[in-house]
């Protein structure tokens, strides 16, 4: 199956709100006299998934796994190297300016660092209402009303709208970010490491490194390691019976807040290798407790190991 063909076929039929196919994002490293590309950081190296309407997909991974790059690429905050993404069957990467403007209203992102993403010189009312203004929603009076309602929805007082970001605590700023994201009634929210206290009946791509948090909010979880999804399954199933050795190790070392629980931990040795020069074959093999020579030769595909559960391991 060539990527070209996939790009043409808009897969609307199965009802996916978001579908991502073979997403690749390399960051070139320039060097030498002529500033030519001497190497690539293979941040995202062939990622595919879909999210149905009303579903929350948790995308989990450690630093350097590429999870945030996936989120940013889907938002077209950075251009993809190759691959495709569709929002309700419409290509995100091929969208022209006007179409993209519309999509950006439908997909909102909430960032990890709420302070870094809020303009310190704008009042909270202006921040939350900015999207409404940009997209020409309602009159000034109507917009004010919507902003007050949104602030109440996320648990802040409507009268706080005149205040500025620095007057709020980290948690409150996070909520301001959520109110801003909700303002345009988006179809999909991409949440990058948020501290989400409120759940709304929305479709989420939830990007995080904390399994315990991801598990609470997600219907399905995809686990990333060095640019690739290594396992994907319904949340409970993934926690109960992980099949990929990385997922198994990841779950085994999550500190459990119960001193009476004693369990076997799999503490992985070493660190995540550089995405500039990932290991041959299986990317995880250098830290894998069960890797064989075969793993260095052949990259394991993501295959269905039990109903609804996919793992990229020869021995899963």
């Amino acid at each position: 199956m060539s990527k070209q063909k996939l790009a043409v076929a808009a897969p609307q039929a199965n009802g996916a709100l978001l579908k991502v196919q073979d997403l690749v994002k390399f960051f070139p490293i320039k060097g030498g006299l002529l500033q030519t590309t001497v190497a690539n950081v293979r941040a995202v190296d062939g990622v595919s998934f879909e999210i149905k309407k009303g579903e929350t997909l948790g995308l989990i991974g450690e630093s350097g796994s590429g999870k945030s790059t996936v989120a940013r690429t889907i938002m077209r905050l950075i251009p993809p190297t190759s691959g495709e993404a569709w929002l309700e069957g419409r290509s995100i990467f091929k969208a022209k300016k006007k179409e993209l403007h519309e999509m950006r209203r439908e997909v909102q992102i909430i960032f990890q660092d709420p302070y870094g993403s809020l303009n310190p010189r704008m009042s909270v009312g202006e921040i939350v209402g900015e999207g409404l203004l940009v997209h020409g929603v309602g009159s000034a009076h109507e917009r004010d009303k919507i902003v007050s309602e949104l602030l109440e929805v996320v648990g802040l007082r409507g009268q706080y709208r005149g205040r500025f970001p620095h007057e709020f605590s980290g948690g409150q700023r996070q909520r301001i970010g959520i109110a801003r994201a909700l303002a345009l009634r988006p179809k999909l929210i991409i949440a990058d490491e948020p501290d989400l206290q409120n759940e709304f009946d929305l479709t989420y791509l939830f990007v995080a490194h904390n399994m315990a948090v991801v598990e609470q909010v997600s219907d399905r979880i995809a686990v990333m390691y060095l640019g690739k999804i290594v396992e994907q399954a319904p949340a409970e199933q993934l926690l109960r019976s992980p099949r990929h050795p990385y997922t198994k190790a990841l779950i085994s070392v999550i500190p459990i807040p119960d001193p009476t629980v004693r369990r076997e931990q799999t503490v992985l040795s070493g660190e995540i290798p550089s995405p500039t020069n990932p290991p041959s074959g299986c990317h995880f093999r250098t830290r894998c407790p069960i890797a064989t020579d075969y793993c260095a030769e052949v990259e394991p595909p993501l295959r269905e190991v039990s109903k609804g559960q996919f793992a990229a391991c020869h021995y899963a």
Binding site: E62, E215, P257
Partner: protein, 322 residues
């Protein structure tokens, strides 16, 4: 009782624009020899300032205004600087969340560990360097000779954390204060560092004061736990006891609010409201505005930390048990 460290009624204040912040407001805490004691609480509760007060490493605008820090029965508060310098790094070491705060970027990590050893153990630089390489090997750094010649920026976050632990333990301190040592690390690297700390504890026999906001880490690492809120310890108990029957409404809220793996909670319990403004802490119990119990007297008087649990070691500061 062989208490290694006993903090008594410690008060630390900061003069800031707009007033005085009582960051530590009457802390009592004991750490027995060779024990691991967890200190938990939200950011701003005074955990780190408690640690820095014990180490006497406060910023210029901060001052211990009252109380004692007994180490082996000797009060560190008011000890002359030279004597404190002797104890710091030698008998009590500290590691931080961000290793770059403790590591000097312009010296190799080997030189820095060697310097710590040389200063405190009066050996020459070469003996110090040998010790540095030995320590780097002990904390699980492969090819320690080569790594000793590298600068902090050449190492990954997990590796820097190991270097800082190596430096802190190079003088075999009796007490190690670890302030959020794994918070900035990924979970698989956190697991490596926690395993390392457990192993080294066996090897060196140091007591550890582990400051964290992660109750999972506490459950795995600590013999006992102290819970801090608005500058005071509100509860202290052996770890299993605290998790099994928390007494203070704040501890109860904390434990109910942790996401637990494999247990879908309808909605995470959240303690409503936020930590009081440090410039305007309410009278009486500082937790009262957020407290579901609001015991009588808590609006006027600050409750003392007393044994109100099932064992003598379980201390709680709440009027509802009086």
């Amino acid at each position: 009782m062989s208490d290694l460290l006993r903090v008594e009624d410690l008060h630390t204040q900061f003069h800031v624009h707009g007033g005085t912040v009582k960051a530590v407001d009457g802390v009592n805490l004991t750490i027995p020899a060779k024990a691991t004691v967890g200190l938990v609480g939200e950011s701003g509760s005074g955990k780190s300032i408690t640690a820095l007060s014990i180490m006497r490493l406060l910023e210029k605008n901060g001052r211990i205004t009252q109380g004692h820090v007994f180490f082996h029965g000797q009060d560190l508060v008011g000890l002359p600087d030279e004597q404190m310098q002797e104890i710091r790094g030698n008998d009590i070491s500290m590691i931080f969340q961000e290793p770059m705060t403790a590591l000097n970027p312009v010296f190799t990590v080997g030189d820095q560990i060697a310097e710590a050893v040389r200063l405190h153990q009066k050996v020459d630089h070469e003996a110090g360097l040998n010790r540095a390489v030995e320590m780097l090997r002990l904390v699980g750094i492969s090819d320690p000779k080569r790594r000793a010649g590298q600068y902090p920026h050449e190492l990954s976050g997990g590796m820097r954390q190991r270097v800082m632990i190596a430096m802190a333990l190079s003088t075999s301190p009796e007490l190690l204060i670890a302030d959020e040592p794994t918070t900035a690390l990924d979970v698989t690297i956190q697991a490596q560092i926690l395993k390392l700390m457990r192993n080294l504890k066996g090897e060196f026999g140091s007591a550890i004061l582990l400051i964290t906001h992660d109750l999972g880490v506490v459950a795995e690492m600590c013999d006992s736990v102290a819970v801090m809120y608005a500058g005071r310890i509100v509860e202290q108990a052996p770890t299993e006891e605290l998790f099994a029957s928390p007494k203070h409404p704040y501890t109860q809220g904390l434990l109910a609010s942790i996401p637990r793996l494999g247990k879908k909670q309808e909605r995470l319990h959240v303690i409503t409201g936020s930590v009081p403004n440090p410039l305007a802490v309410p009278p009486g119990c500082a937790f009262r505005p957020r407290c579901p119990v609001k015991a009588p007297r808590s609006d006027r008087d600050i409750p003392g930390l007393k044994p109100n649990g099932s064992t003598a070691e379980h201390l709680v500061a709440c009027w509802q048990y009086e």
